[in-house]
Amino acid sequence: MSLDISVINDQGSAQLRIVGEVDMYSSTQVRRALLELVKQKQSPVIVDLNEVSYMDSSGVATLIEGLQMCGEYGGTLLIVGLRDNVREVFELTRLDKIFKIYQNIEAAMAR
């Protein structure tokens, strides 16, 4: 029931790839991984949600926290690969306007 999280570090930037359902239980795992990258002052932090089949407000809260922490050291956090139902959560909460969201990793890298 827990998430699979993998991190690829690449010359200062980092990709956080999450696989599974992000809810109040599993979002703590995402939070821990994000805190680690923030501590290393990575930028951009690219959060790949391509394999995330579900996300609730605790997942969104975790990403907002990550975005704010990145901002504190002048870094950026990008989101890629939103599935329709996950995109809906961002749209309902108007956070699609706050986050930089890209179709895929390539588009985020080429921004």
Binding site: M1, E21, D23, M24, Y25, Y54, D56, S57, S58, V60, A61, T62, I64, E65, Q68, D84, N85, E88, V89, L92, T93, R94, L95, I98
Partner: protein, 153 residues
Amino acid sequence: MINIEGMERRISFMTKTIELHLTSDPPLLSVMRAAVSKVCELADFEHMETSKIILAIDEACSNIIKHAYKGKSGQSIIITCKIKPTRLEFILEDEGEPADIEKIKSRPLHEIRPGGLGVYLITSVMDKVKYSFGVDRGNRLYMSKQRPKDKTT
């Protein structure tokens, strides 16, 4: 082999009730989501509407765990789903601390900070949302959603 043809009736014509009794343990919410997903399918909701309803019930359960039970595990949460001819109803019951109804509200959307979005999502997704907090009777959250029209005939 017993012939069950006679048992086959359109689910639309009578109320079907399904109850799920969980405890306030976050990993168990995945069981709730799987069950609610199938309930929505039986009620003729399509994929995206089903996702939103799952989200609403998940947010409501998460709030019970976080706020009513203050994170204490092993406490009772009862989710009753009623597939009625024209609408789908959910009733969530817990024995946690009753809340001040005035406090049940999300942050304003423009105030960007972590948290404070669950109640907003619940009320955005569902047609009717009604909280009742009782000292003796436990807490109760009623939610309903109109079923897709073209399928309920």
